[in-house]
């Protein structure tokens, strides 16, 4: 079981993702340079957070044309898991791997905080080790994290159980106050139609070591490990 972590110019969470996979999960990982034209035989691709290409034009708009994204797209079409975090989520939306888009936070500010997330679906390869309705504490750090999509896309995500996480308060209630960026329907993370691409603005890879607080992100990586071991 090997994770491949894509490094774009401007990625800054690739190292965190690597340490989460290797030190905390105990799995193998390799960095994949964005100009590479193969995935080095990895089983899971992580598109990490950061500011690829300086967020020029729109966050993720230019990174999606990096050479490696062609291979990432083929991996996804073969059913291979892709975990797209923060800037990775923005890139995955721009690349059409996920529906919708991420735009400027409603409050206009960059938000760096630890937020509560409610697990909305357990029947995914990324969330099987969580209980539905569990409330996680996971860091966020983004300026363009407001998830938007047209109403038919939102309805489809809802009906298919493809909303993975929503922002919530400490008790698990979805309220306007618990929504840090104005995302439609409080959406923090979604899956594609086939369920093998997860995009999320919060950073599970920053919540895997008890030294840094509740390691609530670790079960996401363990869910993938459990699925791939089958």
């Amino acid at each position: 079981m090997k994770f491949g972590i894509v490094t774009f110019p401007g990625s800054n969470c690739d190292y965190d993702a690597y340490r989460a996979v290797v030190d905390q999960l105990g799995a193998q990982a390799a960095y994949l340079w964005h100009k590479a034209d193969d995935l080095d035989g990895v089983d899971v691709v992580i598109l990490p957070g950061g500011f690829s290409y300086g967020d020029y034009l729109r966050a993720g708009a230019i990174a999606r044309f990096s050479p490696i994204m062609r291979q990432v797209g083929e991996h996804a079409r073969r059913g291979g898991p892709v975990l797209a975090i923060c800037n990775g989520f923005q890139i995955a939306c721009e690349a059409g791997l996920l529906p919708g888009a991420l735009v400027r936070n409603a409050g206009m500010r960059f938000v760096s905080d630890v937020v509560h997330l409610r697990v909305e679906s357990q029947s995914t390869m990324f969330t099987s080790e969580y209980a539905v309705g569990s409330v996680l504490r996971i860091p966020i750090a983004h300026g363009e994290g407001r998830y938007v999509a047209d109403s038919s896309t939102l309805a489809r995500l809802e009906d298919d159980g493809h909303i993975a996480f929503r922002y919530c308060d400490a008790s698990g209630a979805i309220t306007d106050d618990s929504n840090p960026n104005g995302s439609m329907r409080g959406i923090a993370g979604i899956l594609n139609d086939e369920g093998n691409v997860l995009g999320m603005m919060p950073h599970p890879e920053r919540a895997v070591d008890p030294i840094l607080g509740q390691p609530d992100g670790l079960l996401l990586f363990e869910s993938l490990l459990a699925r791939m071991a089958v």
């Binding site: 708009a61 044309f65 939306c93 721009e94 888009a101 936070n105 938007v148």
Partner: protein, 87 residues
């Protein structure tokens, strides 16, 4: 046919109906400066492209394709292309 360089401006604005926090903030600032009659502000991007083409129509068609592929996000933005003028 000989190609020449055309200059084309593109305006990209947030899709109508989508929350535009930047536009709303600027509206508020204008109101507080006394411009009470301002109804709405939409903040977008202005891009100027200089491109080679056999004629103005082809230059515009090529910029249209650039907008669809890269310059605008079809989920959240609308764009307008101004007429090509020789650069």
């Amino acid at each position: 046919m000989k190609h020449r360089v055309y200059r084309i401006a593109v305006q990209i604005v947030p899709r109508a109906g989508l929350l535009d926090p930047q536009g709303n903030t600027v509206t508020g600032a204008l109101h507080s400066l006394g411009f009470k009659h301002v109804q709405a502000v939409h903040v977008g991007r202005h891009i100027i492209i200089e491109t080679e083409a056999p004629d103005a129509l082809e230059a515009e068609a090529s910029v249209q394709a650039m907008c669809e592929k890269l310059l605008a996000n079809p989920v959240t933005e609308d764009f307008e292309i101004t007429s090509a003028v020789p650069a």
